[in-house]
């Protein structure tokens, strides 16, 4: 989350219903088509992507969240202290869009405006069966202050743009905040802990790493 020698570390969580294709979306992004044969990791739960633009060196840690209904209450453990969230729905499935709306509510409630949201309609290759219109999604996204994209993981459309835009926004926001002098405002880990009280004690011992 913080910069470290000019390196930005951001945590991005993936949220969405089971079959909206969030896994293939992130696999498409991280293991893109140039090297799907040789650098193959089969696990899609935690992925790392390093990108560099305008001299900003960004480390994206992309976390998949447990999406089954029975694990719903565990969400906060995954998304706390994240800088960005990618909320995926299937444009052919109205229900999955409603799920996204619920997620947005929950995230805003737990993390406030510190988290940048990207609402993503996946599977535009199946636009014939579209049940969520572009306008509806855009209007909603604007209302809740989120970015909106439509992608196809299958055809690799819009995936790169999505993550790049989200990253740019996170970097931009971070720079703005550090310029205002509140360099550690992003440390949300302590504010959103829902598990038990003992773990949420402030980690003030961080100051003990003596240098030089």
């Amino acid at each position: 989350m913080a910069t470290n020698n000019g390196i930005y570390n951001f945590k991005v969580v993936l949220l969405g219903e089971g079959c909206v294709g969030k896994t293939s979306l992130v696999l498409r992004y991280v293991e893109d088509k140039f090297n799907e044969n040789h650098i193959s990791t089969v696990q899609a739960s935690f992925l790392n992507k390093k990108i560099n633009f305008d001299g900003d060196h960004v480390n994206l840690a992309i976390w998949d969240t447990a999406g089954q209904e029975k694990f719903h209450a565990l969400g906060p453990i995954y998304y706390r202290s994240s800088n960005g969230a990618v909320l995926v729905y299937d444009i052919t499935d109205e229900d999955s869009f409603n799920k996204v709306k619920n997620w947005v509510k929950e995230l805003r409630k737990m993390l406030g405006t510190d988290i940048h949201l990207a609402i993503v309609g996946n599977k535009i290759d199946l636009a014939r069966d579209r049940h969520v219109t572009l306008e509806e999604a855009q209007v909603y996204s604007e209302k809740v202050g989120a970015m909106h994209f439509e992608t196809s993981a299958k055809l690799n459309e819009g995936v790169d743009e999505l993550f790049l835009a989200l990253t740019e926004k996170m970097v931009h926001d971070y720079k703005l905040k550090t310029n205002n002098g509140n360099s550690h405002r992003q440390n949300l880990q302590n504010a959103v802990n829902v598990v038990d009280d003992e773990t949420s004690v402030n980690s003030s011992t961080g100051s003990c790493c003596g240098r030089g």
Partner: protein, 858 residues
């Protein structure tokens, strides 16, 4: 997953050279998807950077996984490694450390691979591979190598040692306080290590080095602190862990498919279990974290076998839940907090470690949640109800309630219209018949099933009808008492006890109901067992030698431990791994409890002997003891008691032995009588004893000292067999007969002592005077014979000195002398020959044909 190595490529001289002076390559790379390989910082000397090396490091896509460089060399990429042909013999592959995408505007981008060392270049000695510290071993190596000696290690250990002395009891502090204390120690350690000149210079220059230094200092510090730190965290979280343990222990029947885990992970569960089981072997955050990561790697490799399948967070979470349920780790909450809060060296919370931790946390939370409870209950009920009959359990229970009157009147023989008839009349007849002696596929009858499911009404009816045996055991040897106790159904347990169920029944793992109640943390049932019955055994060990107190301690159920201790549980009993409960205690509060109760316990035992001891000694004297065998126990209760007593002696539990026998460890000293001599039996002395006898009542609970068990073993036998010298002395002092023999084998304690080579015991036994040296067992062997068989020179010497006869033949006609001669036991043989010589010399020197043997041995 990528290696943890990271660096800012913009500061890499090789990459700088390309970007500044070869922008054409960059341009072509964006257009044609070339991959630029950059050796990590420090792997390539600045002098080596030339146009040739740069061309060697730009890869063009070929077919499949093959690439060619701009210099037209062929390489291929597999498993995050670049393979190439070169004139080097061994290292033809280079690790790709990470991949980075560089954007030039919104749409144009190119890919850079940071690699461990340059391609096609002869390996330089200086460029060892990128150091990523993963274990304690790595850290110690790092500190040792980088500081060129063990000064830093020594200094750190000294710091920690003084810390441990200064902070004896920091485990009862709260988390923040503990963190502050340890954090403080950490910064001290770091400062100390930075005093080393070489290390300071290197860490000023290289950021990666400084990070590694921090990690290794912290890890070594935690290693020096050892178990102390984990003990403190355990103490902090003992309640949470007890709650988790109770849930986990009660979920034993949960299976793989109940959690909806995909079939493909079946194969890796065992190896993942092995990995995760190691977590408490480690004391440092780094090692524990590594252990956790290994588990994830193992699981992810399972997915690899099937193409196009990937492992999702859901999979990982469910597998981790399953592993936690199946492992014998008792402090998950403490481990989690330890991993989360006691890592000061790395504050980044976006790496893979924190993902693993989040998954662990989620798994623990899930186990505590209501959803899990529902899954568990569902799975549990279905597992019980899987019966061979076509009737459902509910139906049968309903019938039991409705037809309760019919039970007695109806006969078992049902006459059907014809053998396979299915008319209504016959059907109901069959059903009634089935209800009566119904068992499911686990051999559980209705009473047991009702006890498992907690159906109190049905249990009550069944007990009233007396149709089924209260002590009926299923295929695991468990009775309904076991199940009621295990599942915490106090009301059913009380009903069963009331109906005369055997509370001390053992299942096939030798668990009593109390064991199971303690294992699954059912406090109400522990109370029910101990308060409602008088004869519940508290200190009996199961198949693994664990007493109920062992189990309660292992899982940290503080309240149960207290109840057990109040009801006479011993803290000195050892299990088969030779652990007392003191060894098993994982937190400070349990230890405190043991300490306070241990004191009180010994005090009460002392008190009880002061009151009872004279009586007991007298009683023992007066009673007529069979000379050949031990006393038979008078009743069933006594025979159980004697078994317990023998077990107590076996586990060298002196206080418990004393307790059963009704005197204290220092009984012999505490009772002073003015007898003529210690063994005097004259009228005056016995009168004295009787006088004491009449004033105090003899407690009926006490076992006679010469009582034997079913095989005829007396306490003295057991003490001799296991070499419990202290107890043996005590027994002899209090009138145990040294010449009692076991029933079938006719062993005396001396036989056993010789066979098991208990030198000290042999000495003690012979010291008591009345011990016969040459008694023969069923095979006619004397103790000396066994000493010869074992070739124990010491014992042979003692026996001979006490007049053992080395020529006494056993029933197969062999004497100890012959035995040792045939086995070429020179020293034993010589000893015997010498003693024989003395005897013969005394008797007038009759010739004895042992000369040949003599020659044979020399």
């Amino acid at each position: 997953m990528w290696s943890q190595y990271d660096e800012n490529l913009c500061e890499n001289p090789f990459f700088e050279e390309i970007r500044n002076n070869h922008s054409d390559i960059i341009r072509r790379a964006t257009e044609e998807n070339w991959v630029v390989c950059v050796p990590r910082n420090g792997a390539l000397e600045t002098a080596d950077i030339s146009i040739e090396t740069i061309l060697d490091h730009v890869l063009l896509h070929g077919a499949g996984s093959s690439f060619s460089t701009l210099s037209k060399k062929q390489v291929c990429v597999k498993n995050k490694q670049i393979y190439f042909d070169s004139n080097q013999l061994f290292s033809n592959n280079v690790d790709i450390l990470f991949e980075e995408t560089f954007y030039l505007g919104k749409t144009s981008k190119y890919t850079v691979w940071c690699i461990d060392r340059p391609l096609f270049l002869r390996l330089k000695c200086s460029s060892h591979s990128a150091t990523v510290l993963e274990s304690l071993h790595d850290c110690i190596d790092f500190l040792w190598v980088e500081s060129l000696g063990h000064d830093i290690l020594d200094n750190l250990r000294m710091l920690v040692d003084t810390f441990i002395q200064d902070h004896q009891e920091f485990e009862t502090e709260n988390l923040q306080c503990q963190k502050d204390i340890i954090g403080n120690l950490y910064s001290q350690c770091l400062q100390t290590s930075l005093k080393n000149k070489t290390v300071r210079e290197k860490s000023m220059k290289n950021r990666q080095f400084l990070e590694n230094l921090k990690v290794s200092v912290e890890t070594y510090m935690q290693y020096c602190l050892g178990k102390k730190l984990m003990f403190a965290v355990n103490t902090l979280l003992y309640q949470t862990d007890a709650v988790i343990n109770k849930i986990v222990r009660n979920s034993y029947s949960l299976r793989f498919k109940d959690l909806n885990i995909p079939e493909k992970f079946c194969t890796v569960i065992t190896s993942a279990k092995c990995e995760l089981n190691k977590i408490n072997n480690y004391v440092t955050v780094l090692d524990k974290m590594y252990c956790l990561k290994q588990v994830f790697d193992v699981v992810c490799n399972a997915g690899k076998q099937q193409e196009s399948e990937c492992v999702t967070s859901d999979d990982l979470l469910q597998i981790l839940v399953f592993l936690i349920l199946k492992l014998n780790v008792s402090n998950w909450a403490a481990n989690l907090i330890f991993l989360k809060e006691f890592r000061f060296s790395l504050l980044d919370n976006t790496d893979q470690n924190s993902y693993c931790l989040a998954t662990l946390e989620a798994a623990i939370e899930f186990i505590k949640s209501n959803q899990f409870l529902e899954i568990r209950n569902l799975a549990f009920n279905s597992s019980v109800c899987s019966c061979s009959s076509q009737l459902s359990i509910e139906d049968i229970f309903k019938q039991v309630k409705e037809h309760k009157i019919n039970f007695e009147s109806e006969k078992k023989d049902v006459t059907l219209c014809h053998p396979l008839c299915a008319c209504d009349k016959c059907k109901s007849a069959i059903q009634d018949c089935e209800t009566e002696d119904f068992t499911n596929d686990k051999g559980q009858n209705l009473l047991i099933i009702a006890s498992i499911l907690g159906n109190c009404d049905v249990v009550e009816i069944l007990l009233e009808e007396e149709t089924s045996d209260v002590n009926f055991a299923d295929c695991q040897g468990k009775t309904s008492v076991h199940y009621a106790a295990q599942h915490g159904f106090q009301d059913i347990l009380l009903l069963l006890v009331n109906a005369g169920a055997n509370i001390n029944a053992l299942d096939y793992e030798k668990n009593t109901a109390l064991h199971l109640a303690c294992n699954s943390g059912q406090e109400n049932c522990v109370k029910a067992i101990l308060y409602s019955t008088v004869d519940a055994e508290v200190n009996v060990g199961n198949f693994f030698g664990d007493t109920p107190l062992h189990l309660a301690t292992k899982w940290g159920y503080l309240d149960i431990i207290r109840i057990l201790l109040e009801n006479g549980a011993s803290i000195i009993v050892r299990n088969n791994r030779n652990q007392t409960v003191l060894n098993l205690a994982t937190n400070c509060y349990v230890l405190q409890l043991f300490q306070s109760f241990g004191m009180r316990q010994s005090a009460t035992i002392c008190k009880s002997i002061k009151e009872n001891n004279p009586v007991l000694v007298n009683e023992r004297r007066a009673s007529q003891v069979c000379t050949e065998h031990g006393l038979k126990p008078k009743n069933l209760d006594q025979s159980k008691k004697i078994d317990l007593l023998l077990r107590a002696i076996e586990s060298n539990d002196l206080p418990l032995t004393c307790f059963y026998l009704g005197f204290s460890c220092n009984a012999a000293l505490s009772v002073k009588r003015s007898a003529c001599h210690p063994l005097c039996d004259c009228d005056k002395c016995s009168k004295d004893d009787e006088a004491v006898d009449s004033t105090t009542k003899a407690p009926s609970q006490i076992i006679h000292i010469n009582t034997c068990n079913a095989e005829g073993y007396t306490p003295l036998h057991i003490a001799a067999k296991f070499g419990r010298t202290d107890i043996l002395r005590l027994l002899l002092d209090d009138g145990a007969l040294p010449n009692t023999q076991t029933y079938k084998t006719l062993y005396t304690p001396l036989h056993l002592a010789c066979f098991y080579q208990r030198v000290q015991v042999v000495r003690e036994l012979l010291k008591c005077g009345s011990c016969k040296v040459d008694l023969q067992d069923t095979k006619g062997n004397t103790p000396l014979f066994y000493a010869c068989v074992k070739n124990d020179v010491k014992i042979v010497e003692i026996l001979l000195a006490n007049g053992a006869d080395c020529t006494k033949k056993n029933y197969s006609g062999r004497s100890p002398l012959q035995e040792s001669e045939d086995n070429l036991q020179y020293r034993v043989f010589k000893l015997m020959k010498n003693s024989l010589g003395c005897v013969l010399g005394r008797d007038g020197g009759q010739g004895f044909g042992v000369g040949a043997g003599d020659n044979g041995l020399f």
